[in-house]
């Protein structure tokens, strides 16, 4: 999201609040989100794919909606209109082909109308076939979830993404030797995928409320949260969507303040820190241990201000439109232990993984004949959960190492806190000592997280390990 996007979204929010009657607001959010994903999509070097990716997002979301519908849920007139509106939006965006570059919302010239028509008809036929498959809807949940996961793995695994890029280039008649994994920039996919998997899984367990196609699509691709989260829950989102408020000074102030603070965090602090933050090149060039530590400290704060700034902006814009997105950060670097850190860093992702990885895995292990010991259970679940969080960022060994680092950190913390609980209860009578231990805990936790960023920030495991050793004067 750029400053231009934010200004336009804020202006749109003001018009939305002041001019739009209540009954049009849901439609406005729906149409706005559909158009916004085309506008937010960055350029892709594979011909037409900065148009194809947003269309793909809409197709995938519609497919997930078909699969995640309640058994009794039938097509309504509103659902049909929603499909028509999405198709009309796609056609409208494609008409940008005939406009000058400045008036287009796509980064490159969209495909010609006949190509768009073929694309649309193909998607509609596939969706219609899926809808009419003679199997129960519940049977669709797993294949659709696996399809989303497969796409996720392809996009996040460098070798697979490069191969996919080569294949797509070949299909589009472009030189295949120029294929790069980085060119498959399917904007927002990571977040959309996790939202869709959440709905599919919650339908399986019967927790998902009934959602119309319009509301489902709006939830999955809600434009303020499309690029960088937070990952909201459908039932919570729906609650806000059912009661979209009008012009309200408190909401305007709160939303506006969050946006201003977010802009300050992202474009003033994070972008300034980015000049000095650790990266592969600087790690190699650094001539001293102290210098490496400095780069790492700067990286830690740059990452926090960048990501939490984006979250603030998303929350602020969402609030202007009447959707109160969940918080994603809560002073994570001030937490006294690693468990508390993970309750305050990328909160919505942590919660997602707790719901859909940690808890099911714990339940699975506990229902086995040979029940594991609590310690072993904690170890397996914590490490697996954190590896999944790592892999969500990219399927690389560095993210696995980062996941392991935090997984073991959480496990050690659990063992430690279980064993020292009586000691800490005893400390309640000595608040000053308690406070001192709390401060020490914050310092230790921050530095544990800091060292973990070495695996996160650098491109390969060898460089990370080298930097890790150099931070301690070795290597």
């Amino acid at each position: 999201m750029t400053l231009t996007h934010i200004i336009v979204f804020v202006a749109a929010a003001l018009l939305y609040m002041t001019l739009l009657p209540q009954h049009w607001r849901k439609w406005a959010l729906f149409i706005g989100s559909v158009l916004a994903i085309f506008w937010l999509q960055p350029p892709v070097r594979i011909d037409k794919f900065d148009f194809v990716f947003p269309v793909g997002t809409l197709a995938l979301v519609t497919l997930a909606w078909l699969a995640s519908r309640d058994a009794e849920q039938q097509w309504t007139r509103e659902d049909v209109v929603s499909v028509a509106v999405m198709a009309a939006c796609i056609v409208l965006v494609s008409l940008g082909r005939y406009l000058q570059e400045d008036f287009r919302i796509t980064p490159s010239r969209p495909p010609a109308l006949p190509q768009v028509a073929v694309m649309l008809i193909s998607v509609l036929i596939v969706l219609a076939l899926v809808d009419r498959l003679p199997v129960g809807r519940k049977r669709l949940l797993l294949p659709v979830a696996l399809l989303i996961l497969a796409l996720f793995v392809i996009l996040k695994t460098e070798a697979l993404a490069e191969e996919a890029s080569r294949w797509l280039r070949d299909m589009m008649g472009q030189p295949t030797h120029l294929a790069r994994a980085s060119e498959l920039q399917w904007l927002g996919f990571s977040y959309v995928a996790f939202r869709l998997i959440h709905t599919l899984r919650d339908r399986q367990t019967g927790r998902l409320p009934v959602l119309s196609l319009r509301d489902y699509v709006t939830y999955a691709i809600f434009f303020p949260a499309f690029t960088s989260g937070p990952i909201d829950r459908a039932e919570r989102f729906l609650k806000d969507l059912q009661a979209l408020p009008g012009l309200d000074p408190a909401r305007l102030t709160q939303g506006g303040m969050r946006i201003v603070i977010g802009i300050g965090k992202k474009w003033v602090i994070a972008d300034a820190l980015a000049y000095m933050a650790l990266n592969d090149v600087k790690a190699e060039q650094a001539t001293s241990t102290a210098g490496l530590w400095l780069l790492l400290y700067v990286y830690a704060f740059q990452l926090y201000f960048d990501f939490s700034g984006y979250s603030d902006i998303a929350i602020g814009i969402g609030q202007l439109f009447g959707i109160k997105l969940p918080e994603n950060f809560s002073q994570p670097y001030l937490k006294r232990n690693i468990a508390a850190f993970w309750q305050s860093w990328h909160i919505t992702l942590s919660q997602w993984v707790r719901f859909y990885v940690f808890s099911p895995l714990s339940r699975f292990l506990l229902t086995r004949k040979r029940k594991p010991s609590p310690t072993f259970l904690a170890l397996v679940c914590q490490v697996t959960t954190m590896i999944v969080i790592g892999l969500w960022h990219g399927v690389t060994w560095t993210f696995v190492a980062w996941g392991l680092w935090h997984g073991f950190g959480l496990f050690i913390h659990k063992v430690y806190s279980d064993r020292t609980r009586p000691f800490y209860i005893g400390l309640r009578a000595r608040p000053r000592l308690m406070r001192a231990i709390g401060i020490a805990g914050t310092v230790v936790t921050f530095h544990f997280v800091l060292l973990g960023w070495v695996w996160f920030a650098l491109a390969d495991i060898e460089t990370s390990w080298d930097v890790f050793l150099r931070l301690f004067g070795m290597g």
Binding site: T253, A272, Y275, A286, S288, L292, L295, Q331
Partner: protein, 390 residues
């Protein structure tokens, strides 16, 4: 959430009156900041506030660079800030004999690491003056040929208490047309105009290429780029201090050996040049400017091609006739005024010594030049010391 309690659970409710009063204050503050900024012009003062030499070490050459993300360096036009980021702005030791080197990209050290530039090589040789002071050379060279640019930087350099000045140049800096080419000159019209008037330099103080800012141009909103440059200069200080890198080292095409059959220089065809054709008066102004501070003037070494058309040109920059005329005039002029002048034009004759241009040296050959210049520095320093004692 506790973090946002002040926003979501405020002591007083946010109402329209609150929004209106905030909006009015924002507008008023915006206008005041802009007008005050335009009236006060705080950029020079802000430029003199620097984290360099305090929080982290100063740069060993003046900030210059196009690819800041790689070189941790950038070009800007605020000379105060440039000098404050330089190690020359650090405190002068009692036993230090401070030597400032002025000149073009050859002095600045394109493709050379800071230690390998001429100043770095002189420092590596650890020279001492006769009275035991340690010679400490500072690289104040700055790319783009223009003696007026050199004079401008020399004027600022004098604030840092040099004991001796070394000014290196080549023919390219002497062209009358070259004098205003440097953006540094164009964006600093007041000090340049002052120098022109003080030393009666043959330049137009009202040259249209001078960038003179109107009141509106001085508004905060219009000068945000300059302000951002100042901030970026400070921010890049950290990676500079951590890595010691201050320029990009790309692969380059070596200087040309085979030359075009072109005998023109600037707008001149072969002829006898006069002192009016070259900006010799800028050198004279520099010598006058430094006053009692000793100054060494050096015609810097250059690549002498033996390839195709080398009978017409010495290298891709200069035709033989123009360069010979320049040397003749400079010899005459320096002899007339009694300057301490070294003509090192063929002092480094080996072709392998030159990298991407006919005046940029390799580290090894920069070391050789360091010895030549270092010896001259010590000689002139001792000469000046003896004169002081007499």
């Amino acid at each position: 959430m506790q973090t946002w309690k002040w926003l979501y659970d405020p002591a007083a409710a946010f109402n329209w009156r609150f929004i209106f009063s905030v909006a009015i204050r924002v507008v008023i503050l915006f206008v005041i900041v802009n007008v005050v900024f335009a009236l006060v012009d705080p950029l020079p003062a802000l430029g003199s506030i620097s984290a360099y030499n305090h929080l982290f070490r100063g740069r060993e050459r003046l900030p210059y660079g196009e690819n800041a993300a790689v070189s941790y360096n950038l070009s800007l036009n605020q000379i105060d800030a440039m000098f404050e980021s330089h190690v020359v702005a650090s405190r002068k030791d009692d036993d230090e004999f401070r030597v400032v080197l002025i000149g073009d990209s050859a002095v600045w050290g394109v493709l050379l690491e800071p230690d390998d530039t001429l100043a770095g090589q002189i420092n590596r040789l650890d020279y001492h003056t006769a009275d035991g002071q340690t010679v400490q050379a500072y690289n104040l060279g700055y790319p783009i040929w223009s003696l007026t640019k050199d004079l401008l930087l020399l004027d600022y350099a004098l604030d840092y208490d040099p004991d001796l000045v070394v000014w290196l140049f080549t023919l390219g800096s002497f062209g009358q047309a070259a004098q205003m080419r440097s953006p540094l000159v164009q964006h600093n019209p007041d000090p340049v105009e002052d120098l022109i008037k003080r030393f009666d330099v043959n330049q137009d103080p009202n040259d249209p290429r001078f960038v003179r800012l109107s009141f509106w141009d001085k508004l905060f909103i219009r000068r945000r780029r300059d302000l951002a440059d100042l901030m970026r200069l400070q921010l890049y200080g950290v990676p500079w201090a951590v890595t010691g890198i201050d320029q990009e080292y790309p692969d380059y095409e070596p200087r040309l050996i085979d030359l075009p059959a072109d005998d023109t220089w600037e707008d001149y065809t072969p002829q006898t040049l006069t002192t009016d054709d070259l900006a010799l008066d800028v050198i004279r102004a520099g010598v006058d400017l430094v006053g009692d501070t000793p100054i060494v003037l050096i015609n810097e070494p250059m690549f002498l091609s033996d390839g195709e058309n080398s009978d017409i040109r010495y290298n891709s920059f200069f035709p033989r006739w123009a360069y010979d005329e320049y040397r003749r005039l400079l010899d005459d002029y320096s002899a007339r005024y009694g300057w301490f002048y070294l003509d090192l034009w063929d002092g480094i004759p080996e072709a392998d010594c030159y990298t991407d241009s006919a005046v940029h040296l390799t580290p090894e050959c920069s070391a050789r030049l360091g010895k030549l210049v270092g010896a001259a520095i010590v000689e002139l320093a001792d000469q000046a010391g003896r004169q002081d004692n007499d």
